[in-house]
């Protein structure tokens, strides 16, 4: 495992982007920073600019208006970075499947820009904070296995 990946796993700065969520997942994400869960213990920190981010937490179905912006934000994020699809909508469009305003699930939108993007899925409506932490841990383990 290279030092870059090792350091990345110790310190993940996340940028939270809402692509048309109902705000339920967003509240659960903010919940992660509260005293009860306190993800800063693991070096996870919320940052304000995608340029500082190592992971994009995407919530919401990916509306047509938001899709282009999401792609732009992904391009602006320095690599290596990971994308986390938070919630049922971001993972697979949820109840909005087939809606006129839907551009596709988040992973398709990201893969239009970068086919090799690292994408992790955390389903749930909304996912519990425990599920989100578990998702991050599993994604990190997957990065571990994929790099020699």
């Amino acid at each position: 495992m290279s030092w870059k990946i090792k350091a990345l796993k110790k310190s993940i700065w996340v940028f939270h982007i809402n692509t048309g969520a109902c705000n339920n997942c967003d509240i659960e994400i903010v919940n992660l920073l509260t005293p009860k869960f306190d993800v800063e213990r693991f070096g996870i920190k919320l940052v304000g600019s995608p340029r500082h981010a190592d992971a994009l937490l995407v919530t919401g179905v990916g509306t047509r208006q938001a899709a282009r912006r999401l792609q732009e934000v992904y391009r602006q994020t320095p690599k290596p970075c990971a994308v986390f699809c938070m919630g049922a909508c971001a993972c697979g469009m949820g109840i909005f499947e087939g809606g006129y305003h839907v551009a596709g699930p988040v992973d398709n939108i990201i893969k239009e820009v970068d086919p090799n993007a690292i994408i992790a899925y955390v389903p749930g409506c909304p996912p519990k904070p425990q599920a989100m932490i578990s998702g991050v841990v599993k994604a990190l383990a997957a990065i571990d296995e994929s790099t020699p």
């Binding site: 350091a7 320095p78 690599k79």
Partner: protein, 315 residues
């Protein structure tokens, strides 16, 4: 000759320069995050967290906005870090060997303390981002705001120590034990708060409205250098206050331990102010520094002069 060069290189790069200041700065920035977490009833990050953050940023891609002024964009963090590094090296050198100084180092220290803010303004305005432009203009106003009361507070210190411009001589006495010295210390502490970019004066960087402000466009190694600069400022600025207001480090092991305790208390005080105050608007900050702090400092200078004239050390 060779020995001289080697010794100077050792001072600049290892102790008390780059390596030592960086290690202490990372520890101080861990202290900031840990104490903030404890204030909020959280556990907080592990001890090595700031170091991991820096290492991680070193390994990330560096993105430079296509419309940015590239040379300034890349040089600004380096200039800022060099300024703080020089300041820290100088202050530690004076603390360790008070005989090895030059006259007027107080003025040099005041100039070097402006350098990081100037670098932030340069970096922000060269990055071709509206957020960074707003951040730069706020930082500029903030510098205009806090420099005046800070210099006035230092004039109180100079009067108290009998008109010397020499940090080694100033750090022999502790002006905080007098009325005017205490007022000056309070004002200088708030100026240092603004210099560090901590709440309530984190106006230039405000994460929630400007999304990072002056450093919004920085990524990778350049962002790491900004973070290192901010960590080093946590070493240099409280150290400067300890030497000017709190009586410095002295010469024996006992006074050194007491000096380090003073430094830690000062850092924790800064962190507690950071955690218990909301961010002010830029006009409120300007009014605070120019109206309240400056008037208070004028009063303190008056008191100190009267005390000096009539030999009343407590004034």
């Amino acid at each position: 000759m060779i020995d001289d060069v080697a010794e100077n290189l050792f001072r600049i790069l290892i102790f008390p320069g780059l390596f030592f200041t960086l290690a202490l700065g990372l520890f101080a920035s861990w202290l900031v995050r840990k104490v903030s977490a404890l204030v909020q009833y959280r556990v907080g990050p592990p001890l090595l967290q700031p170091a991991w953050d820096i290492v991680k940023l070193m390994g990330k891609e560096v993105l430079i906005p296509s419309e940015a002024q590239k040379t300034v964009f890349i040089c600004a963090p380096l200039v800022g870090m060099a300024g703080v590094l020089l300041l820290s090296t100088m202050l530690w050198r004076i603390a360790i060997r008070p005989s090895d100084v030059f006259v007027g180092d107080l003025i040099v220290a005041v100039y070097l303390m402006v350098l990081p803010s100037l670098a932030l303004i340069l970096g922000g305005s060269s990055s071709a981002s509206p957020h960074a432009a707003v951040g730069s203009s706020r930082e500029m106003k903030l510098v205009l705001g806090y420099e005046l009361p800070l210099v006035l507070a230092l004039i109180v210190v100079i009067i108290k120590s009998g008109g010397v411009l020499n940090l080694a001589a100033i750090s022999q006495s502790a002006p905080i034990a007098s009325v005017s010295g205490f007022l000056a210390f309070v004002a200088a502490l708030l100026c240092v708060q603004a210099k560090l970019g901590f709440a309530p004066f984190d106006i230039a960087e405000s994460e929630t409205e400007l999304a990072g402000g002056v450093i919004i466009e920085y990524s990778g190694v350049l962002l790491a250098i900004w973070k290192i600069m901010q960590a080093m400022m946590l070493v240099a600025l409280p150290l400067f206050l300890v030497m000017t207001f709190l009586g410095g480090f002295g010469a024996t092991a006992g006074t050194w331990i007491w000096g380090i305790v003073k430094y830690v208390i000062l850092v924790v005080l800064v962190i507690l102010i950071k955690n218990t105050n909301p961010r002010v608007r830029i006009d409120q900050a300007m009014r605070f520094f120019w109206v309240y702090c400056t008037v208070l400092m004028a009063l303190a200078i008056l008191l100190a002069s009267v005390g000096h004239r009539y030999g009343l050390a407590w004034l």
